[in-house]
């Protein structure tokens, strides 16, 4: 059983000490991690190396050092593995002279799908592009092109799906539809890797995140566990109460409280152990006869975690 959160039990996609540099610029540096069934969010600020990582995984670029394996092989030298890999690239490029149906059909043919027509229809249905399917891609909005690209990636029913900013240009309804789709694909046991900047949506669809900062692996695992691992950064909790100052004074006596502040009647507490604080605060409140109306961690979300990671 693996104890390293960056590695999974039954990996389908693996990077082993992988690095990539372009001249003097190191885009990815000594990354060792793996991906398995389910949805994994690949996070990082702009220029962190996420797209470079995805390109190495697909074999579009070769690692300068280390190794990359997809289903046990490096796709670049074993193209047959592409039957099980679908990529939705970040670039908006499609073939403008083709209709969406022709584009997806072309993808199905190139992927060696047996029943091309059925697979095409199914993929177009899946991304809800049925109505405009016979219009040329040149006339599509950005969100529609994204869906066409997703359909082209899904048409071969791949076991592994790599999505680079798949929600770019999509409206809220399309976004929700795609998120549900990716969650469903993950639940079916496929390996879905989503690189995205839209943190709350990655939070919603990912079981696990891999965070890349400056080309290096900054964190891995589920969000709560990553936050817990940041022991040098205390949790901030927001507490609303009818006796804020009394409660604050009393909480200061608790060993697990690192500091308190009162701002405009709201109590902010810093602690190294969120769970313990959650158990202790009601007890203390009862002692001082204070009524708690709200108890909210302020920085346990993915966004907060991401911000801390980038700042380190």
């Amino acid at each position: 059983m693996t104890t390293n959160p960056a590695l999974v039990e039954s990996p389908t996609v693996e990077l082993d000490d992988a690095s990539k540099w372009f001249g003097q610029k190191v885009a990815v540096s000594n990354v060792t991690c793996s991906f398995g069934p389910g949805v994994t969010g690949l996070l990082g600020p702009n220029g962190a190396g996420k797209t470079t990582m995805l390109r190495m995984l697909t074999g579009l670029i070769r690692p300068s050092q280390g190794s990359v394996r997809v289903l046990g092989v490096w796709p670049r030298i074993s193209p047959s593995v592409y039957t099980d890999v679908g990529l939705v690239p970040e670039e908006a490029a499609v073939y403008p002279s083709l209709t969406a149906r022709e584009y997806v059909r072309y993808a199905a043919t190139l992927s060696g799908v047996a029943d091309v027509d059925a697979a095409t229809t199914r993929a177009i249905d899946t991304v809800a592009l049925v109505e405009p399917a016979d219009r040329k891609l040149a006339g599509y909005s950005k969100g529609m092109r994204q869906r066409a690209k997703v359909a082209a990636a899904l048409v071969s029913d791949p076991q592994i799906l790599l999505l680079d900013e798949p929600l770019n240009g999509t409206d809220p309804v399309q976004r929700l539809h795609l998120i549900n789709l990716f969650q469903r694909l993950g639940a079916e046991g496929r390996t879905v890797i989503v690189s995205s900047h839209i943190l709350d949506e990655v939070d919603r669809m990912s079981d696990r995140v891999i965070a890349i900062v400056d080309g290096r692996l900054a964190a891995a695992g589920d969000v709560a566990a990553i936050r817990e691992a940041m022991t040098d950064i205390p949790y901030r909790v927001r507490i609303e109460s009818d006796s804020t100052r009394v409660l604050a004074a009393r909480l200061l006596e608790e060993a697990l409280v690192h500091g308190v502040s009162v701002d405009d009647g709201i109590l902010h507490v810093e602690t190294g152990d969120l769970a313990a604080l959650g158990l202790r605060v009601p007890v203390v409140a009862r002692e001082v006869d204070a009524r708690i109306t709200s108890f909210q961690p302020e920085d346990a979300s993915l966004e907060s975690v991401f911000r801390y990671l980038v700042r380190r």
């Binding site: 579009l60 670029i61 690239p89 002279s97 082209a152």
Partner: protein, 249 residues
């Protein structure tokens, strides 16, 4: 096989939109149109002379290179520059099949257009002279020249968006100026390979007449075929190696 055909047919569709078909079609018909006008007042004996002049001075050194370069430089290069190359290479298809299919698409379009021009020109000549023996030779010669230019410029178009200009500089400076002066280099001249194929298949006397238009030292049809096939095979091999070894994004 299915994938290869899909790539080839999509490439043909990309390279030959309606606008391009009209522009290229008119360009290919222009020599035939001019020759038709010329034959209105020419004696029949002079028709062959003028026809060969059109072939040696216009069709092979200008029309075939320009049309083929525009088509061939776009075949693979535009996929890379437009960002759609990943769509092709992330498929369970050998790189050699991708290279061959892209090359095939470029050749179908370029050779198709140039053969169309050749047939139009030789049909006009045939109507004037009653001789139809030059239709196939000129079509074959045009096809050979198209294949050789495509072999050089499909891979070059992958590397640079200035392949057309580089190609035309090659045609005008190297082929038309340098090789004219140093006829020993004629086997390095794609359009002369095509012209040799034409001369090799055409009835006797054509080769000698072509020398009057500066097209001396033409090789045999067999040599043209050899060079055409060799250059095409090397090109497909080189393109395959590039797709295999280079970073594609």
């Amino acid at each position: 096989m299915r994938a290869a055909w899909a790539i080839t047919s999509t490439t043909v569709k990309q390279l030959l939109g309606v606008r391009r078909m009209i522009v290229f079609g008119l360009a290919e018909l222009a020599p035939a149109g001019v020759f038709l006008l010329m034959t209105q007042t020419l004696a029949q004996e002079a028709a062959l002379d003028r026809f060969l002049g059109m072939v040696a001075a216009l069709y092979f050194p200008l029309l075939v290179p320009i049309v083929t370069l525009i088509v061939a430089a776009s075949a693979l290069g535009d996929e890379r520059r437009d960002g759609t190359l990943s769509f092709l290479v992330l498929r369970p298809i050998p790189r050699s099949v991708i290279a061959l299919s892209k090359f095939g698409g470029a050749v179908i379009v370029a050779a198709g257009l140039n053969v169309f021009g050749a047939v139009a020109l030789t049909v006009v000549y045939g109507i004037e002279s009653g001789s139809w023996s030059l239709v196939v030779p000129l079509a074959v010669g045009g096809a050979f020249a198209s294949i050789v230019y495509a072999s050089l410029f499909v891979p070059l178009g992958f590397f640079t968006d200035r392949a057309v200009l580089a190609g035309l500089a090659f045609v005008f400076i190297f082929e038309n100026a340098v090789v004219s002066a140093l006829s020993g280099l004629s086997s390095l001249s794609p359009w002369r390979i095509g012209l040799s194929a034409f001369a090799g298949l055409a009835p006797g006397g054509v080769k000698a007449e072509l020398a009057e238009f500066g097209a001396a030292n033409l090789s045999s049809f067999g040599a043209s075929l050899f060079w055409t096939v060799l250059i095409a095979v090397l090109s497909i091999g080189a393109t395959t190696m590039v797709l295999r070894r280079r970073d594609l994004a």
